[in-house]
């Protein structure tokens, strides 16, 4: 059982790290501020979500896990709105 959980953690965290890599590559290579913002927000948040998923088996259940999920939802909502704000600022320039 714990072997399966460990494999799950390693897989999820690896995928999450991969998405962070993808986001950073986008950040470095995209030509425009808006496209860079898009890469940063989408890929990094997805990476964070996968990493969160991978860490769930290792935290105290229920409150530790609920707290982690709450952190991720908060980051999602906050970065969605914040990236909208930044994009509007860039567009209005």
């Amino acid at each position: 059982m714990s072997v399966a959980l460990n494999v799950f953690t390693i897989a999820a965290v690896s995928f999450g790290a991969f998405f962070f890599l993808a986001g950073t590559v986008g950040l470095l290579r995209f030509p425009d501020t808006l496209t860079r913002l898009h890469a940063l927000t989408k890929a990094d948040n997805l990476g964070l979500g996968l990493i969160m998923l991978g860490l769930l088996p290792h935290v105290a259940w229920p409150f530790g896990a609920l707290k982690l999920i709450a952190v991720w939802v908060l980051v999602l909502v906050a970065s969605a709105s914040a990236s909208q704000l930044i994009a509007r600022k860039v567009r209005d320039t």
């Binding site: 390693i10 913002l37 860490l55 769930l56």
Partner: protein, 93 residues
């Protein structure tokens, strides 16, 4: 498992560092506003991975999420003033 998580944390930290280099160099002020986003998601990922999801880390992650959103708003709002002042001084000339 702990070693693997630390490797992952180091990897994500490297991604954050690369992204930070790109963002802070960015020719425009608009690029730099994204720094809060990058540090928010990336920083939380590094934090949770290096702590293995333990409980004090979850609280700090929560605070980081809130603060990243707040910092983004502060950056965007002060960009407003910079632009307003710049356009005012240009009109005055």
């Amino acid at each position: 498992m702990r070693e693997f998580l630390l490797y992952a944390a180091g990897f994500v930290l490297a991604m954050v560092a690369l992204g930070l280099v790109r963002i802070l160099r960015g020719p425009d002020d608009a690029d730099r506003m994204m720094a809060a986003q990058l540090l928010g998601s990336g920083g939380i990922a590094v934090l949770l991975l290096s702590a293995g999801g333990g409980l004090p880390a979850a609280d700090v992650a929560l605070v980081l999420a809130l603060l990243a959103a707040f910092a983004s708003v502060a950056f965007v709002k002060s960009g407003d003033v910079a632009r307003a002042n710049k356009s005012e001084s240009e009109e005055g000339k």
